[in-house]
């Protein structure tokens, strides 16, 4: 276990190091002089140029630049946003709640929709099973921005049940109400794989001897399903669920943009469009970090939930 953990931690550090090199190096990869790249058409006043040279330590040799930049990042100093004239860390902090709420809401919907559909499909072979397989096949092939569009045209424009893109929600309840369609758009795309894996894990368990024994002992079908089937099927469900959560972290930028939600993902997209490079660097780095950490946590959790799954498997695929 310790060796496994150490290996995974080393891998995590390697990924973060490589990403930081890429994020740092991209300023220098860009065609032309870094200063004019970072200015991107903004007026090159001597103060602005000096501030940039200072922020990116451009007067130092490259390795020193990197070390100083990384040192800043590790202390939470991501520089200043050219677009908002604000500290990047504070800017991201102000947008974090919107994204966190959206991802949490979407993850809840994915779990409820995915597990329910999967359990139904496993317990009701025939029409319901087929319907679930077909439905999840289609929703999985539907990108979240397409679901977003479909949901807006149906529930917002046609039926008027939910607010459309934009708007400034007041209070927590209203905020959730505004986030319902965005969360659903994300959840529709991500619930399919969870439903499918729940279904097949349940079917695996349903065919096992201990389930037959429990049934023969006269245990009620409800608790056979809950205690003997669902519980044992949990390992694969959690593995896929975690992978999907990591995917949600990345896909949120698309849905936030489609629904004009004020969050980190929409901030990233705006910042790329507005050439606000310090913000792009910070969000890229943080997103990769969040992505690998979630994947690591899943890898640690799964053997704890289901000890039958070995730690020393050949790895994914």
């Amino acid at each position: 276990m310790t060796r496994f953990l150490l290996g995974r931690l080393l891998g995590l550090v390697a990924v973060l190091f490589a990403t930081s090199l890429l994020v740092f190096g991209s300023v220098h990869l860009a065609p032309g002089d870094p200063v004019s790249f970072l200015l991107h058409g903004r007026p090159a006043t001597p103060e602005a140029v000096a501030a940039l040279r200072d922020q990116y330590h451009l007067d130092d040799p490259l390795p020193v630049q990197y070390a100083k930049w990384l040192g800043g990042v590790l202390h939470g100093d991501f520089g200043r946003s050219a677009q908002y004239h604000q500290d990047v860390g504070a800017l991201i902090g102000s947008r974090l709640p919107g994204t966190a709420l959206l991802i949490g809401y979407a993850a809840l919907l994915v779990a409820v929709l995915g597990v329910t559909a999967g359990v139904l499909a496993a317990l009701r072979p025939g029409l319901i099973d087929r319907a679930v397989l077909f439905g999840t096949g289609v929703t999985t092939a539907t990108p979240s921005f397409v679901s977003a569009m479909a949901l807006v045209s149906l529930f917002s424009v046609r039926l008027g049940w939910f607010p459309g893109p934009g708007g400034t929600p007041q209070g927590f309840g209203d905020r959730l109400y505004h986030l319902t369609l965005p969360a659903l758009a994300l959840a529709l795309t991500f619930a399919g794989p969870l439903a499918r894996v729940t279904r097949s894990a349940m079917l695996d368990e349903l065919g096992r001897d201990h389930v037959e024994v429990a049934r023969a002992r006269g245990v009620a079908e409800r608790s056979v399903v809950r205690r003997h089937v669902l519980r044992n099927a949990l390992g694969p469900v959690v593995t896929v669920g975690g992978t999907l959560l990591a995917g949600l972290l990345i896909s949120t930028s698309i849905v936030e943009t489609a629904f004009d939600v004020s969050g980190i993902g929409s901030l990233l997209v705006q910042s790329v469009t507005a050439k606000d490079f310090a913000v792009v660097q910070a969000i890229t780095l943080l997103s990769v970090a969040a992505f690998v950490v979630v994947n690591l946590v899943v890898d640690i959790l799964v053997p704890l939930i289901d000890p039958r799954l070995s730690l020393h498997g050949e790895g994914p695929s």
């Binding site: 390697a14 990924v15 490589a18 990403t19 890429l22 994020v23 991209s26 990869l29 860009a30 087929r130 397989l133 077909f134 096949g137 289609v138 999985t140 092939a141 539907t142 990108p143 979240s144 921005f145 397409v146 569009m149 479909a150 807006v152 045209s153 424009v157 459309g164 893109p165 994300l186 795309t189 991500f190 399919g192 794989p193 499918r196 894996v197 593995t239 896929v240 992978t243 999907l244 990591a246 995917g247 990345i250 896909s251 930028s253 698309i254 943009t257 489609a258 997209v269 790329v272 469009t273 490079f277 890229t284 997103s287 990769v288 992505f291 690998v292 994947n295 498997g313 994914p316 695929s317």
Partner: protein, 295 residues
Amino acid sequence: MTLIAPPAADAPGMPRRRPGLRLLRVLGQGPLFTAAVVLLAALVLVAALAPVLSPYDPEALDLASSLVGTTGDHLLGTDQSGRDILSRLMHGARTGLLGPLVVVGVSTVLGTVIGMVAAWRGGWVDAVLSRSMDLVFAVPGLLLAIMLVSVAGPGMTAPVVAMAVAYTPYAGRLVRGLARQEKARPYIESYRVQGWSGRAICLRHLLPNIAPTIFAQSAMNFGYALMDLAALSFLGFGVQPPTADWGAMINEGQSAIQQGAMLPALAPSVCIVLAVVAFGIVGEGLADRIAKRER
């Protein structure tokens, strides 16, 4: 123990494993497979012949006929600028297929070379190549693309390059696994005894044996790449207006939805979903056929 399909992530950017289109497996036999193949063939044909087939210039503005519904003149109506939606769909199929073609082509070739070398050489070469693939695997493709766009500017190039890099480990891991299994088979050793060089065995015997599986996986990855690139175009980072592209059309059609006109965004959405489903069915169907033949 394979819980889910090996490679392939949603919605854009869900590396590690993409459990996605395995769902379509159950549909991947019989008439649906045929229908999917016919649909894809038709799509390729339309894309190739778009300039001849399309009734209008896809970029011709006609503000007088903005948001016209389905009529005899405009079978799928027009968008807000009065451009014919059917013509834009037909031309959009070109960018829609070309981008994923480059992504899948480049990543499959790179992945095949890396995977075969890793499997054949083993030892430290394998270790270095495998760890490098793990590293790329850990960075979501969508994020890599956005990063690259922020440096190189919007357009097809940056997203396609980023996705080709991001998809390489999917192919690489698959090929490495397949080649390792194949390498352990007796026929490889017998060629070696006969004095064949490693490179010749790999290219003339090993690769042809694993190629069908690689091809089946590429078909599925094609659908995912199409989704990812459409998402980037939707965000405004890919194909630039006024060029017709499905993802960009959905972006442009968003404001029309608020005015109650669904077609400008709905039509390209249907195209994307149909294409992705069809590629999934074909990929799964091929994989099934290969599995059956080997049994």
